[in-house]
């Protein structure tokens, strides 16, 4: 049974130039393919948090061509954080409030990626019915790694509050910590050393004051192209 009060989702991704990047705006199509979001606003932020553009998107669209949107409104801007602020009938996301996207570097021989777009609280904590802590996350890496470089992409969706972030990396049991502060709407890519003292990168943890936009990213060393674009996992389910 759906209520008259629309649900809300603030989800986030990151975009780099040169990629085909199609974002599915609904989780899945209903039998008549007629359900759609009630409203959707998209905002593009540069690494310092500055809003480059904020615009409404036709909520009847099933997919958003993010590459085309960025090319039209913020060409040459480098890495951008993209925030999707949606209102929707709960039947749009019957399972959980997240949606997917397709990502591929144009002309690349590397495989296309398909990923779940991050649902973020972003300083509006009553919007999503998260029942556990989701601001302490982890991710594992293949120890027999093949030379790719990993990093974490982090963005602070809060309106006014900066957030301290701690990133812990693990190599053969040894733990290394880094701390940084992200201003409102700011984002950064934190490179993770592939190896320390002869031990391979095994795991990363991200701790923050509240939920950040967070992805683990893998890049081909030879070209910098993305081979991994994935969400982390919470310790508390």
């Amino acid at each position: 049974m759906s209520s008259n009060r629309p649900s809300a989702l603030l989800s986030t991704t990151f975009h780099e130039e040169g990629y085909d990047h199609l974002v599915e705006l609904v989780h899945q199509r209903d039998s008549d393919a007629r359900r759609h979001l009630e409203s959707l606003d998209v905002a593009l932020h540069d690494p310092d948090g500055k809003v480059l553009v904020s615009l409404p998107v036709d909520p009847r669209q099933e997919l958003l061509d993010l590459g085309a949107l960025v090319a039209a409104h913020a060409p040459g801007a480098g890495r951008l954080m993209v925030a999707f602020d949606a209102r929707y009938d709960e039947r749009i996301f019957p399972y959980r409030p997240h949606h997917y996207a397709y990502l591929h570097r144009r002309g690349s021989a590397l495989p296309s990626l398909y990923y779940a777009v991050n649902a973020v609280l972003g300083g509006v904590p009553d919007r999503i019915g998260a029942t556990g802590l989701n601001n302490f996350e982890t991710y594992l890496f293949l120890r027999r790694g093949t030379g790719e470089r990993h990093s974490v992409l982090l963005g602070n969706l809060s309106r006014f509050a900066p957030s301290d972030v701690e990133i812990f990396t693990y190599y053969g049991g040894a733990r290394h910590a880094r701390e940084m502060t992200l201003g409102p709407k700011a984002h950064l890519e934190v490179a993770l050393d592939p190896e320390r003292e002869g031990a391979r990168l095994e795991r990363v943890e991200v701790k923050a004051l509240f939920r950040l936009a967070s992805y683990v990213v893998g890049r081909r060393v030879s070209s910098g192209e993305l081979v991994l674009f994935d969400h982390l996992f919470t310790y508390f389910k």
């Binding site: 199509r29 002309g107 594992l140 293949l142 030379g147 095994e202 893998g218 060393v221 996992f233």
Partner: protein, 256 residues
Amino acid sequence: MANPLRGLARRLLGVRRTPTYYLPWLTRPDLQCVLLLNNVEARFKAGYTQGPFPVSACQYDADGAVVRRYEATLADNLDTAEVVLDAGAGGCGFVTVDTRRIHSDLYVTLSDGESYTATHGRGEFVEHYPARTRALVRGLGALLAVAGRTIPAFTRDQYVYDGADSRSHLLLMNLSNVPNRIRIVGGGEGHAAAARLVTLPPMGSRLVDVASLGPRGTGALSVRRIRLTGNAWFNLYVVGAGARDLDGPLSLMHVK
């Protein structure tokens, strides 16, 4: 079908659901497929903090036959076991993992020697149909198949992408002990929807090439809207490919 009706139908048919964690696998001559077994997400969970944690996995091939069983032991919940999967018939399938002692998402990676892609598995279930229901499903399914149809027990919708230098395919997995006829409907933009019936053996899998679903649209990257209907529980992973399509490096990704 509404959930209460589904539950009633399952009881009448004697269908049992066994909770099962599974991951997809793919092998190609130049791709290595590795499982990452771990218990790290249970690090702070009561009852899951004392190791060691024995873990076993069973790899099914595309025909639903067991390729191999794997055993590993995690010393504690910070330990990870990397299990290289064998090549099996059809080059694809899924692996079930006994997760009674572990409570964590598990990963599967595809490596071409220069980099790897990764995704995680799913904690769902496998459906077990009793003999009389299997016979019923087989008989009715064979009749409907003559007309290119299937028993519409489960439906999934999925977007797939088809471009000049990239595309997404579908790895279908039959999570039941009955043959699963899956009707796939979808066409390229501007084309009439094409339909195809794929039969998966019990616990079997098939890699569906999007090009087999009809001509692609005219844009540089066209989107196909696919509807899949099966007579038993199934799921799918999206398989990403680049310019060399299925002969090149690949990625796997879970869906809902």
